[in-house]
Symmetry: C3
Subunit: 305 residues, 3 copies
């Protein structure tokens, strides 16, 4: 075990050392994730994969991770296929699937679901996103991507770009980065800036933060542009939305001459132009891949021999 | 082979000895179902899992059972994903999936489907519920639960509670219990009592049966309360329904001081209060687990080496 | 490798020798497909199964093929379960799933999708049907069925029957057969005859073709009746449709005394009567089975050790 928890519910439950040890274990998993090495350490084990909301990346990378380790998967990819349609409540469903399996991964649209489920069952529970709540395996794969592509996370300068007000992903990532000796730049239109309480938490802890609404300000000195989507629904005025969307569009021309890597939790819509995909800047597909070794590390650590 | 049939269609096809031998084999499967032991006896084998109706417990426990034995699963969890949407008839679909696999498990809303399918294909077919028809693996896991938790089934006193008129599950279970030397109590509102022809069959065979509409009558001397849901649709008068629902609600207070175990085929809605879940009375989650070793025993017996 | 392509997009990419070598390899796969022999040559490998349209036969036989070889499968059986519902475009989805897997199989309703996808990703891509485009694994299993049941394909006389105008399957099959030394009869109502450009291609290459609208003309001397569905939508006049449907109905009485085998890509609706199913003429279920060893041969050849 590289961490002490029975469950993976929130990145906030991890100490810096536990994060570092998890990323180290993920690195050992990489050759298996690339199918350059075989592994059957979880053969005979079963993962219950309970996706009450559709997902491609998270669900498929968990299923890939489990199978690359020799294990099997049962579950559902949308609530409609489960007994939820017969009126069965969440509690009964998860307790039953826990009886059949060695660990559960759950995605649900209601915040707090994963922790509630973890309290109901004896098997380990991994939170694969619970509404406005947490999505800790995303944060771990984000950190792994930075470390894997740029070396140590300490000393990095990371710019979080886009919707910093409502974005669950960037909030978790910011708190996790704050455990390291990093610099952060928050790049957002004034309507979507990082919430005051998060800024307050950081200033209390002596974290160096730089706020701006102009992406050009940071391009020359940050190591990572972590981009998130700006949603139309946030703007009452469609023209205002169009203007802002344009100002935050990441394309190959913008990046030219800089030294950044561009990350994105995906799915993207049009905040990163496709002309970035095959440049050395665009690392979001590689980032998606790194979800597999990170989730393998978690499954290996949580599921008892 | 612990039984002679090619297929598992109805519990009525089993002799008492075949039931006992199946339960014995299930007991041997338990350490594998709990992943305390590894097994790859069905590696390379495939189960075709054809669920024309949604299901959590039955589908997932079959998939778990097959994978715990080293086998694989193909199929669909709802009719919409199959070629049924292109107008293909059931006959063609099952014959084709039978060509790809070593056994089929099928759930369908039309009574008689499983036996029809079994006649069309060479591979073994397991009935996972066909409408108002049979659901034999449910009955086997019910019997296994009683034997596992209370010792021999002979000499037990089992109360069937709730909707005994329309409940397919309790009809099958009652007939199966009648093969053993048991006592049965039928506890139901007068609108939902056990059908006369079943009572007649039992009295002909000399089975001791006790009928009542008051659950308090039986609480002091039965070993098992097997609870089923009372459906609102059965009552023209909503007030009548409410009154009866209240009279049949199983909660921790009711059970206090008794010596029963509470079973339920699940899903429940509100006929058993959640305050029973973590008492020594509530055994329905354990019962759900026992579906795995029972289905492992069937798969192991049916699929040819 | 029995062929040189990275991907399986169109049967036209195969030389005659590559087809023959693929069929030879499929024959070696048969005992594994029938689970008479075990094989774990692809253990630890993953197939990404991306079905944007529902399918029973193609999807399940690919999943069976992969698992019979010891590999695993991740993916989706309909677009609704994927992130397509969040607006993610095809390009991003396939690039991500390619990061998780060792090969992709894709079905999509838009012609050209498979080749586009193959250009985006490094892993091998197998086209499982792209709208009006190609479905090469169907053609390979059609050829395999003929060879397996009748010996060498050279010297056979194959009648293609039904809708030859719009039928993608028969176009691909005809071009593939044209690589061999075969005779072909095209049996279709005049509204649905083989397109002129295909006839032209064949006459240029010196292929012997016989056209008729009466199935009785060919029954006495062809080896194979390859039947496809005539769709109601092709006829403005419902009476005309009924008449033609009747004239092309294949039943046991029609086949009596002939020496043909009847094939069909399935699903059928009512163009072949069920009384043919269990005669020695009806080979379409066997044909469906042959999809497994053929797809095993492709997966084995494409996925790198």
């Amino acid at each position: 075990m590289v961490f002490s928890q029975k469950d993976i519910i929130s990145i906030n439950d991890f100490s810096k050392k536990e994060i570092i040890d998890t990323l180290k274990l993920a690195e050992k998993m990489e050759p298996i994730a690339r199918s350059q090495e075989k592994c059957d350490i979880l053969s005979g084990k079963l993962l219950g994969s309970l996706f009450y909301e559709p997902s491609t990346r998270t669900r498929l990378s968990f299923e890939a991770a489990m199978q690359r380790l020799g294990g099997g998967v049962i579950g559902f990819a949308e609530a409609g296929v489960s007994s939820a349609t017969k009126g069965e409540n969440l509690n009964d469903t998860v307790r039953i699937v826990a009886e059949y399996t060695d660990a559960l991964v759950i995605r649900h649209d209601m915040e707090g679901t994963a922790r509630y489920v973890a309290e109901q069952v004896d098997v380990p529970v991994i939170n694969a996103g619970d509404g406005a709540g947490q999505h800790p395996t995303q944060t771990l794969l984000d950190l792994y991507t930075m470390q894997r592509l740029l070396g140590e996370i300490d000393e990095l300068h990371v710019a979080l770009v886009g919707d910093l007000k409502y974005g669950r992903t960037v909030h978790s990532l910011a708190y996790a980065l704050a455990k390291f000796d990093v610099k952060m730049s928050f790049v957002a239109p004034k309507e979507l800036q990082m919430p005051k309480e998060i800024l307050h938490d950081f200033s209390k802890s002596g974290i160096h933060v730089n706020e701006t609404d102009d992406i050009h300000d940071v391009l020359n000195y940050v190591d990572v542009l972590y981009v998130t989507r700006i949603q139309k629904e946030r703007f009452p005025d469609p023209q205002e939305y169009s203007k802002i969307k344009g100002a935050y569009l990441i394309n190959a021309k913008l990046l030219e001459g800089s030294n950044v890597i561009v990350m994105h939790p995906l799915p993207r819509v049009d905040e990163i132009s496709h002309d970035v995909d095959n440049t050395p800047y665009g690392k979001y597909f590689e980032q998606a891949f790194y979800g597999v070794p990170v989730r393998m590390a978690l499954l290996k650590s949580l599921i008892k021999k």
